[in-house]
């Protein structure tokens, strides 16, 4: 029963996805998606996903647009935004509306990220 928690990481940079798998693979089941729409497909077929980390700036739908759709279908999943900019109004609204738990500015510290996820899963 001691199954690993499942994470979904969404980023258009495959490099970032690889880094997630390498750094978090030992601790979590890491599922990756290269766009928002792929992320939604993954959420639909993988009900075990508890945490979603998504990049903000992506071709097609951006991180917040993706979360808005995903949150309405999977209200119990926890979402985090990773952004190359500092905070924007869109992110600030998402925080206020409790769409996302927290946002991380790039370059972020993987250790910090891990600590926050562990805290949220308690």
């Amino acid at each position: 029963m001691n199954k690993k928690t499942t994470l979904l990481c969404v980023d258009d940079e495959p490099m970032n996805l690889d880094l997630f798998e390498i750094n978090f693979g030992a601790k979590y089941d890491v599922i990756t998606a290269e766009s928002g729409s792929e992320g939604l497909d993954k959420l639909k077929v993988t009900p075990e996903i508890k945490i979603v980390l998504t990049d903000m700036k992506m071709p097609g739908m951006n991180g917040i647009e993706f979360i808005k759709i995903a949150k309405s279908e999977f209200p119990n999943v926890i979402f985090y935004i990773l952004t190359g900019y500092s905070i924007t109004e869109e992110i600030s609204d998402a925080l206020n509306d409790k769409l996302i738990e927290k946002y991380f500015s790039k370059p972020y510290n993987m250790g910090d990220l891990e600590a926050v996820i562990d805290e949220a899963l308690k």
Partner: protein, 1184 residues
Amino acid sequence: MCDEKNILLVEDEIAIAQNQKVLLGKYGFNVIVAKTEEEAVQAVEGTRKINLILMNVALSNGMDGILTAKTILEKFDIPLIFISARPDANILEKTERLTSYGYIDKNSGETALVAAIKMALRLFESKMKKLETLSLRESAYENSMVPIVVIDCKAYAIIDCNKAAVKIYGYAAKDEITGRTPAELSPPFQYDGTSSSEKIKYYVEKALSEEQIIFEWLYQRPNGSLWDAEVQLKSFIDKGNQLAQFTLADISDRKKTELSLYDSESRIKSFSNNFTSGMIYQIVMKPDGARKFTYLSDSVQLLYGVSPEEAIADETLIYGRIYKDDIPGLTRAEEEAVKTFSTFKVEARVKDPVGKIRWSSFVSTPRLLNDGSICFDGIEFVITERKNTEEALLESETKYRNVVENSIVGVYIIQSGLFRYVNKQFCKMFGYTYDEIINKLGPMDITYPDDRTVVNGNIMRRINGEVEFMEYEFRAVRKDNRVISVRVLGSYMVHQGNPAITGTITDITEQKQAEEGLKKSEALLRTLIDILPDLVWLKDSDGVYLKCNQRFGEMFGAKENMIVGKTDYDFVDREKADFFREKDRAAATAGGPTINEEEVTFKDGHNEILETIKTPIYAADGKLIGVLGISRDITERKKTEEKLRENQRFLTTLIGNFPGMVYRCQNNEEWTMDFVSEGSIAVTGYSPEQLMNSKVISYGNLVYPEDRQMVWNVVQSGILNARPFRMEYRIIDALGKEKWVWEQGCGVRQDSGELLWLEGFISDITERKHAEEALKESEELFKNILDYAPYSIILTDMDYRYKLANKAFYSLNNLSEAETIGKTTEELGFVVEPEISKFLATQMDENGKIENLEMPLVDKNGRKIVFLYSSLVIQWKNQPMILISNVDITEKKMIESELEKYRDRLELLVKERTEELAAANEELQTINEELMEQREELRTTLDKLKAAQKRVVQSEKMASLGIFAAGIAHEINNPLNFINGGVYGLERYFRENLSGHIDNVALLIKAINVGVKRAAEIVASLSNYSGRYDLPPTNCNIRSIIDNCLVILDDQLKNRISVKKNYTDIPAALIGNERKFHQAFYNILSNAEQSIAGKGEIDIDAKVIDKELIITIKDSGCGISPENLPKIFDPFFTTKDPGKGTGLGLSITYNIIEEYKGTLEYETKLNKGTKAIIKLPINNSGKQ
């Protein structure tokens, strides 16, 4: 008392009869024997009372005992026992039908017989007692003064009622009412519009479910008159039938009182609303001197600019407006008036809502209230207008006469046996016309024959002077032969030199009838009275209670059985009991009902005002049984009456205080007056009596004939538009003098909209009119004089705006009055040279006048004119004005100058030439100077442009840097993230798999992490250009922001640099982003600190000049070299060592200050120090 009972024995056998007589005699019975039916009947009818009959059934002489018994019992109620030797069923049945006292066998023996007799006597006695009670109750019900009606709840029909009910319904006999429904005795509809028959059903149904209800009902008597009843309805069941009992009380009077209260209130209201040139008020002064308004008419809004409610809540809103110097006069007048309770009148100045002083007249009458307070009913009149023209108008008499004569009393004068004068009511009372009586009828003609002797005697005694005054009653006969009872109050008088008698006469027929009815009624109220809302009781002539109802018991807090047998002295204090006893005696001696009112405290502590009717009750033999009392709670009615009286007093005082006449009249061409106040004497010379009902003259006749149509039209238009009418017109007064009056009034309508009458007041304004007319005439004269002057005369205000001009002015200048008035000379198209205007103004200022000044000007057509101008400051209508006269001397001047021209021509030509040359020279010089000036100006402009361009370039640089920074931030952050993630992964890998080597790579990993961190910081500070971290602007405390920066820099400053702060008195708040301000000041202060190598100082100064906050930060540092100064705001320009500064600080600071519309400047001297000057506009939140 002889207790022997008489027994009639009907027995034809003598022996048996004798035997029985002896036998019964032993038991104390006296036996009378009858042998035949005749004897038996004789004995019963005889003087001796027969207590019992023993009847033999079978009599041998052929007579039938049963038949005999029947004959007797049909006439008499006597107990009867049959005796028979052979009782059989047949006989038993026959006798049982006749008597219930029994049947005895002849042979049953002595004991049985005596027992049967005793039993029968007892039975009869108790039956008699019961009968007595029954008839008593019936009598109580029948004779009760309270009208009671019983109806059948199924048919809603009346099945019974008492005498009082028949009377109150206005019928003669009970059978006229029974069988009808209460709705049939009522008008078809009740006040609320519901049909009477539906509504009575509703109430009866309600009474069935609620047992007892009380409601008000409108009834109609057969003569058509309506009356209001308070009905108490209680349902009960009698012999299986559902019945209801109505107890009625006539409350018409109460209703009338309520209606007249309403009428009185609405009159005050209508009166107040009519009265807009003043204010009606009522103020109460407590014994401690505190004042409070209790009433103010709506016009207080107009006169004081506050609503009645506001002024009632705070009287200083009114008192505070009275002119300070006039308050002692007002107070003195009030105090005087209170001493004698007389009306006072004071004139005082009051500040009106726009701050102007007006004159007001306060007229008021004090009266004392129950609690010792003094109430002033008063009126404030605005009299400013009157003051200005003439002295106050004549004051009217203050007393308001009781205008309504008690017209229900007839008045007469008799002389020489004939009536010489009677009033209307007298005629009405006897059904004659005035002419039919006067000098034709004598007192005997209207007197009932039986009473003529008495009446004649009384008249003679008065004529002979035996008595001066007398009062008596007699029966009189009307023209239609109906007999009425009247009461006369008469006295002796001299009429036209001869003795006569005069008096008043009142119709007391109804009163008499009522008294008759009362005399007849001999009642002990009981059965039905317990449920009455009234207190009912009966006392014997010694004041001992015989009966009382439940409600009466409540007063003493005791049940009936506790009260009966006792007197008032057992329940209330001696004084009160004496009072009751006194009233009881008075009622007994009066012989009829007496009414008194008293306030009574009930046992439970509440008070009621009771109206008590006490009626002596007599037994059939005329002996006084006692006094019957019925009390009704009239507390509410009393309150209403009190309120009505209060209102009437108020109105009375108001009307009396009017200087002028208050009226109520009909809307006809005579303006027939229903009511006129005493003020009519002052206004018209006629008294109210003469004017009312057009007795001597109609008001319409007083109106000046030529004004009558106008008056009629104004009034009708006012009525039509439901607005008050106001007008001024002339009347001819009693002395034939023409007078001007001012009238204001309005139509008073019923709720249904029908016009009832007109109300208003009329005051004398003759004096004012005369003054006005005189003024008008004098103005006319003045205007004529002006208009016939051949030259222009103008009147202007002090700004030279035309107010008036004469005919000559208009015709000479071809102008109309309309285009002239209000304009100045210049606005009319005349051109006056400025020097001349200036000269005129100076002259006027110094001397107040100008005489015969030659003034050239140009008119609107460009024609040059010369006027001989004179002006003078005068006072006109209390205003300083300038009177100007202009005589046109253009022609004269032209001729003069023509001559001069010829003379001076040669000289002039030479002069002109010289002047022309000089002018040309001068012109050249001027042009030269102008060119020089322009060159200088161009140079300045060029410098300004250069500075502006520099600023534009700088801000352009900043803006593009912002966009650039934002763009690259993301692109750099992403690869930085790869590095971070990668290093993190590597570190983990080493830790997990190559832990032996971890120490070897630790420094390498640290180097990568530091590199990434520094790169990320540069990117982050760049993003400050992008304005991405905008937060909503707030109030920022600049002082605490600077303080805060100094705290952060404290480590670098302490023990090295002294900071002088001189910015404590600047306004702290600026609107903006606190983080940005913080960053800007931090950068400047940080640069200052870094510029100082060893010890030094920083001075911070701040001041406000022209809505600009100017902060200077001066350091004693190394300064900036002249070649570096222009570059200090460029991004990435720095003189610091690598890693110590990005070169972005001042660039960002510059950007922030510019964003808030401020400026940042640096003044510097190498090795001496640098001064940063920051200017920020106050109240400017910068870009939003």
